[in-house]
């Protein structure tokens, strides 16, 4: 498993990394922490590079590196990084880099899992999405300030864009709680099954309780919903996860947001792959991310795995 964690040095982002460190450690995942430094548009990269070199001569870090170092300390606290790179004098040098593209530092953990600290420059959502695409990650974890009045709507837009456009699964972490009570939403689709498998891995790593929920749009659909949760329960049981089941009727996004109040993490598949449909109807997962009170794990198939399977079929 390869996880990309995003930080901007704010407490909520570091809270998300602490949370991510917990299950990343259990899963022996490779972790990359990314900080995106905002850059003035039209900034002249040649002059900026000159300035960077001077800063290097003075032994000054590129601004933002301290956030990455703090993230590293957090991950070390979770047991992910075995040694402190500070002692290694060669390490500081690897942070130096050009003004364009990513600058990175590698650390190796106890179980040979890798932690990489990466710094990119540009517009945050765009750079995170570029990194997520290039690095073939399985999961992007990003914090969100949660709802604190009007301003959070705009702040959250980066997280929302990542949730919408990332090529892999996304965990939007806000209002993280100590307990880990999972709410898995299923609609019986293939993607929902994927979400159960993926969610079960993390639930196991966190030693969490799991509730499976299916929402019927109309009371007549309750029976089908019953069947869906039973199937999900079976899948989870095979993986060794005990789950409670629940069936409700109503508008899916509203019901899920309501149920989420009593749970700590919502797991769901990223439905509605057509951009046109999403534009007109809105997407249930995005509504839950925007208005829900707890972290949301949005499971999505990686495109390259699809490509690999088709090529295998072709071969």
């Amino acid at each position: 498993m390869k996880i990309l964690m995003c930080t901007d040095g704010q407490p909520y982002a570091e809270e998300a990394i602490r949370f991510g460190g917990k299950f990343a450690h259990e899963l022996d995942a490779d972790v990359t922490v990314l900080y995106v430094r905002p850059m003035a548009p039209g900034g002249d990269s040649i002059y900026l590079t000159t300035a960077r070199k001077k800063m290097g001569e003075w032994d000054l870090d590129i601004p933002g590196v301290e956030y990455l170092k703090r993230a590293k300390d957090i991950l070390a606290g979770a047991g992910l990084v075995a040694f402190s790179p500070e002692r290694d004098t060669g390490v500081r040098q690897t942070f130096r880099g050009s003004a364009e593209g990513g600058v990175e530092l590698h650390l190796i953990g106890r179980h040979a899992e890798r932690v990489r600290l990466k710094l990119r420059e540009g517009e945050s959502a765009e750079e995170i999405l570029t990194e997520a695409g290039q690095g073939r990650y399985d999961l992007v974890l990003t914090g969100s300030r949660g709802h604190e009045g009007f301003a959070s709507y705009f702040v959250g837009s980066t997280a929302l864009r990542i949730a919408e456009f990332a090529p892999c699964s996304v965990l939007i972490a806000k209002n993280i709680r100590e307990s880990h009570d999972f709410l898995m939403c299923t609609d019986g689709s293939k993607l929902a099954e994927k979400a159960e498998l993926f969610g079960a891995q993390i639930a196991q790593a966190l030693n969490a309780r799991v509730t499976v929920l299916s929402v019927a749009a109309e009371p007549a659909g309750l029976k089908a919903a019953q069947e869906q949760v039973r199937r999900a329960e079976m899948i989870l049981a095979q993986l060794g996860v005990q789950a409670k089941v629940k069936v409700r009727s109503g508008r899916p996004s509203e019901v899920i947001i309501d149920e989420a109040k009593d749970h700590d993490i919502v797991v769901m598949g990223a439905s509605g792959s057509s951009a046109v449909r999403r534009f007109f109807l809105g997407s249930v997962p995005l509504k839950v991310i925007e208005y829900g009170a707890c972290p949301v794990l949005l499971v999505r198939e990686k495109p390259e795995s699809k490509r690999r399977s088709t090529s295998r079929r072709a071969g």
Partner: protein, 473 residues
């Protein structure tokens, strides 16, 4: 399909620019403007659109200017290439090479030590010291070089001032902006302070056969720099009250970092000596042998002594900028030769006549505002390159001093204090991560107002005592 739409959306300004240029070409020429004048005007307007919207790397615009001058038959290929490269362009190139050589040395550490040795630990004195040194160096070499050298000094001061840098708001803004504003405000001090100054010298000579020497330029504008330095300090200290008054800890840190370097080396000494020789030659003999050739003497000396390496030049100099200046000058000359500059100048003068801005000091004020407006949407070099042919003709038509108008155009293009993208200097200090955009606005508008006021006072008072080449007041 999706990609095509994305491509078109991203490149929409290219289409818009060419479309507008084409429409202008197809219109019947307005009275008083020749067909080739209309062609060069079409190129100018298209170039402005590209410079403002940046739909392609900006040097491309300069390349296109040259290409279309030939394709539209405004000038022959030999004439166009000759208008691209001139002594002024060599001068810009040489100045950048010299600056790059200086920035490569470790002079910044010695400079830092010298500053704090004189100023002591009081924050106000340190700030004034930073501004004075920034301004002094930036009045002779490009502002970006000065900021690259001074920025680590400022960052070290901030990082070890005592409290966590994140908890400081005013001190970082104060120190970083002192460096940037000091450099930007002083860039007007001598012809080698900024490429736009060199462009102005080129225009005076090539469009009006007016000769202004290196020393004359300093005589006209250095007084502004001298008055500006305390004003910058005053504005910044009023705007950002520092949280820390005593910088003893920072200065200790600075000393310990510099101590690692050891004593001054012969290399440092030669770097400074060759630079001073070059400035001396600029002041004394550049009238006879040209500013560009003089700069090349300095460059050759640096290369022969092994102080500079050619690889540094190819990596550390923005060659695209030199193209932009070449293209802008070439277009300016085409606009003069085809009468487009004169026609536009007449048109502008007619427009501002009802406001009484069509001559003398009021016109200089108008030119300054126009330049500032244009410099706020595109780079200051391109602003001077495209605007000066028009403003100089406005001066010529209205009997205002051509030199004074040119000076106002060159100086006002540097009044880009309000945004981090206005000048390389501001962009660089912004990249330190210690500043917010709002900091630039907070202090920048005051800088703009004060600088403009000072420039007008100079035009009204000091300049009237001087006899400018070409006459006119």
């Amino acid at each position: 399909m999706d990609d095509l739409v994305k491509f078109l959306i991203r490149r929409r300004w290219i289409a818009a620019g060419f479309l507008l240029g084409g429409v202008i070409l197809l219109l019947p020429p307005p009275s008083g403007l020749t067909v080739s004048g209309q062609k060069s005007l079409a190129i100018a307007i298209t170039a402005i659109i590209f410079f403002v919207t940046e739909p392609m790397p900006l040097p491309t615009v300069a390349v296109l200017i040259g290409v279309f001058e030939v394709l539209l038959g405004i000038a022959g290929p030999m004439e166009v290439s000759r208008s691209f490269v001139s002594d002024s362009l060599l001068f810009i190139m040489g100045s950048l090479m010299i600056a790059e050589t200086i920035v490569k040395q470790k002079l910044d550490k010695r400079l830092a030590l010298a500053i704090v040795r004189v100023t002591g630990p009081r924050v106000e004195r340190v700030v004034v010291g930073l501004i004075v040194v920034s301004a002094l160096i930036a009045s002779f070499i490009g502002e970006h070089t000065v900021v690259a050298m001074m920025m680590p000094v400022g960052m070290t001061l901030i990082a070890s001032a005592g409290p966590e840098p994140r908890e400081l708001k005013n001190l970082p803004a104060l120190i970083m902006l002192a460096i940037a504003y000091g450099a930007v405000a002083a860039g007007i001090g001598s012809p080698s302070g900024g490429a736009r100054n060199a462009i102005m010298l080129a225009y005076w000579r090539q469009l009006f056969q007016l000769h202004v020497s290196y020393l004359q330029w300093m005589e006209y504008l250095y007084p502004i720099v001298v008055i500006q330095v305390p004003l910058v300090a005053w504005i910044l200290l009023k705007t950002f009250r520092p949280e820390v008054v005593d910088l003893s800890r920072s200065i200790e840190e600075l000393r310990s970092r510099v101590a690692e370097e050891g004593t001054v080396t012969a290399r440092d000494g030669w770097t400074v000596i060759i630079f001073l020789v070059t400035v001396f030659l600029w002041i004394t003999v550049s009238d006879q042998i040209g500013l560009g050739t003089t700069a090349m003497i300095g460059v050759a000396l640096y290369l022969m002594t092994g102080i500079a390496h050619w690889e540094d030049f190819s990596r550390g100099i923005n060659w695209g900028v030199i193209f932009i200046y070449g293209g802008a000058i070439s277009l300016g000359i085409a606009m003069r030769d085809t009468g487009a500059a004169n026609w536009t100048a007449q048109w502008v003068l007619r427009g501002v006549e009802p406001l009484g801005l069509h001559g003398g000091i009021p016109m200089l004020f108008f030119v300054a505002l126009l330049t500032m407006a244009m410099a706020s949407v595109m780079s200051s070099g391109a602003t001077v390159g495209l605007l000066a042919p028009v403003t100089l003709h406005m001066a010529d038509l209205s009997g205002t001093s051509i030199v004074a108008t040119g000076l106002v155009t060159a100086v006002a293009s540097a009044f880009t204090f309000m945004t981090p993208i206005g000048s390389p200097a501001c962009g660089m200090v912004y990249s330190s991560g210690y500043l917010k955009r709002a900091d630039f606005i907070k202090a920048g508008w005051k800088m703009n107002v004060v600088s403009l006021g000072l420039l007008m006072l100079m035009a009204f008072g000091y300049w009237r005592l001087l006899a400018f080449p070409g006459g006119g007041k």
